[in-house]
Amino acid sequence: MSNTLVLEEASSLPIPTGERPPPTKSPGLEALLAMAQASDFADIERAAGEGATVVWGFIMGWNPLFRALNVISGEMGLIADSIKFSADAVSVAESYFQIPVETCTPVKARAGLHHMRRKTTNIKRHVQFAGDCGMSDVMSELLRKEGLEVYAVEPISPFKFDPTRRDEFVRFYVDEIQRLSHWLVGKPVDETILAAELKTRNVVARKLDRILELRLRNPFHVSLADVFLLGGGSFDYFAHDTNYFENRRKYIAILDQLIEELENVPEADDFVPLLKVGGCPFCGELCRVVDEANGAIVGNNMLEPALYREDVSPVESLAHFMLDQQIEGRGEDKSGGSFTATAHHISQQLRKTNARGVIVTGVTNCPYTSIAQQYWHDYFKKQNIPVIVMVADTHVKPTEEVKMRLKAFIEMLA
């Protein structure tokens, strides 16, 4: 028996990654990028100085209310700046605020930045959903002594939701919405305007849903990062201070254009479909790693086009939306929902997208991440679905090890 090469056997060997299809141009995305860059929402301080109603904080799922009241949330800009000035802000948080070092960076950085800007900012009010992660919630209490007026929205904490109490809970949230409107602008929300906002939002949600669906054929034409940029125009998690990039007609036209492009772009067949679940936006570096490994994230639980009910009054619709968000575990910890419910939700996504594996992401030093990731990991492992758990600091670039682990995971699924 000689050691001769057996070519046929060699060809049955697995190879770690396939070949990427050549990149395709997307006029729709180019238009979107131009629109996002031109959108002037960054200058909210000036807007506040000129009399616009601008507040810090946001309420997951109630962005249409803000739009209907013409209120701008500065939180997105604050988060971006907190990343830019992270080192200083964290230092301030740990020294001036005595916030324990083991607290997550996003909370420390925001706290520090608030303190650093307390004398120069025009934005003096902060709205806090008290069902938000405890760190953000208690941190907002510290802001009261930084010259900010802090307003809290009361949460319900539904776990094993009792449907017979839905009406009661909806009425509670309706009251909270009215109370919030009064605090924000001194009067109740105009329901006609709110209804129109919900309708637009649903139109956009359906189109975004279609885009996400079409991405299953070819996830490279509109990448994950592009999807988040898209969401930045309309989605609660990203869009608290944007308003469809100030031009909703154009924004919707871009969505339509993208849908048409995606319907006609050739199918890509050789990629590893993956789900991404959990907090922490998947930063550019990690997106790139996924691309290089010929993976594609075809589903995630941060950007989900859930619809607002249009068969009830708009304020009730907002109330129902918040409640359902919590019951179904959507909206991460920002909506104060149930993470065990999220697992079922992800399972549905898995079936819908045929993803081969789940990337569970989370922020370093985040207790929600800590317990939810462990739970989801065990949950999927039991079903023999490959899971990788990644914890990253939102304010720091991911390390080579982290990137390598992710790549190896995708190679494993190829």
Binding site: L5, A10, E401, M404, A408, M412
Partner: protein
């Protein structure tokens, strides 16, 4: 050399028709393996400041050993710690993670391998592989913490005034391994220092060996925890720089209550580069097939080169 000198009379199905290269660029040592039919060549050099230069040096040394020219190499796969930002205008090139490469390299050398424990200078990994394909089934890594990695042993060697590669031999002389309880290298250091001081005070000639052994046991316990997450199934393969440490070998077999597959003539430090070379072979085959296919369809859609450097 001929592959039969390493694996004996077993069929070798990992030798490509055209020569391919696997480069494993580590933080300290860089390894290269050249595969061509039933030939295998392996070279190791210290990693220089510039990755590209190190890689080029490996390429040059390997082609020289094999009596080949650079232009004979059809595909290179790079792997290793850190971003492999190599550039080859004239040779097709791809990057594959060291986990996947290690698995394949181990599989090539040990066809029945199911569990690999790889302990390097910076991290430790446990990898489960499918013995029919060499594919990774599951893996866990410890990359946050020095305990259980080569760095821990290095620190210990420093404190005991020993050469790292003597540390293992020294530990084999232990009569009663000192219990080092700390989970963390930083605290273990203090423990080691006090143990050493006590040994000197009590004029215990064997204390250094016992401390050395204690460190090995402490390390091995961490490794055992890591392995516990994927489960130990034989054949069990020990790879990575630390696998050259005879002390660690013995202690691990003791703590894991399992035996490692015996070493082959090819040092396991080349496992990653070997796996990379195997993948390079595979890529060159599939690229060749696709190249043929795209030429068949004359109206090529892209007009772009199929192989991407």
């Amino acid at each position: 050399m001929k592959i039969s000198e390493i694996i004996g009379e077993r069929t070798w199905k990992f030798g490509p028709e055209q020569p391919t290269l696997g480069l494993d660029l580590g933080s300290r040592a860089s390894k290269g393996v050249l595969l061509h039919r039933d030939q295998i060549y392996a070279v190791q050099i210290p990693t220089g400041y510039y990755m590209q230069e190190t890689a080029d040096e490996l390429l040059a040394k390997l082609t020289e050993k094999a009596g080949l020219n650079r232009s004979d190499i059809v595909f290179i796969v790079g792997t290793g710690y850190g971003r492999i930002t190599l550039k080859y205008d004239d040779i097709a090139y791809k990057v594959v993670t060291e986990i996947t490469c290690h698995a394949m390299g181990s599989h090539a050398l040990y066809p029945n391998a199911r569990t690999i424990i790889d302990i390097g200078g910076q991290d430790s990994k446990a990898i489960k592989i499918d013995p029919t394909t060499g594919k990774v089934i599951e893996f866990v890594m410890n990359d946050k913490c020095a305990a259980g990695t080569g760095r821990f042993l290095e620190k210990a060697a420093q404190l005991l005034d020993l050469d790292l590669h003597d540390l293992g031999d020294f530990s084999l002389k232990a009569t009663a391994p000192s219990p080092i309880s700390s989970q963390c290298v930083v605290f273990a250091e203090s423990e080691m220092i006090s143990l050493r001081a006590r040994g000197q005070r009590e004029k215990d000639n064997n204390s250094l060996a016992n401390i050395a052994a204690g460190i090995h046991y402490s390390s091995a316990r961490r490794v055992k925890n890591l392995l516990g997450r994927v489960g130990i199934e034989s054949d069990l393969v020990f790879s990575g720089g630390v696998s050259n440490n005879p002390g660690m070998w013995k202690v691990l077999e003791d703590v894991l209550e399992a035996k490692f597959a015996p070493p082959t003539k090819l040092d396991m430090i080349f496992a990653g580069a070997l796996g990379a070379a195997v993948f390079a072979g595979r890529y060159s085959v599939s690229a060749g097939q696709r190249h043929k296919a795209s030429h068949t369809h004359a109206a090529a859609a892209h007009g772009e080169p199929v192989l991407q450097a």
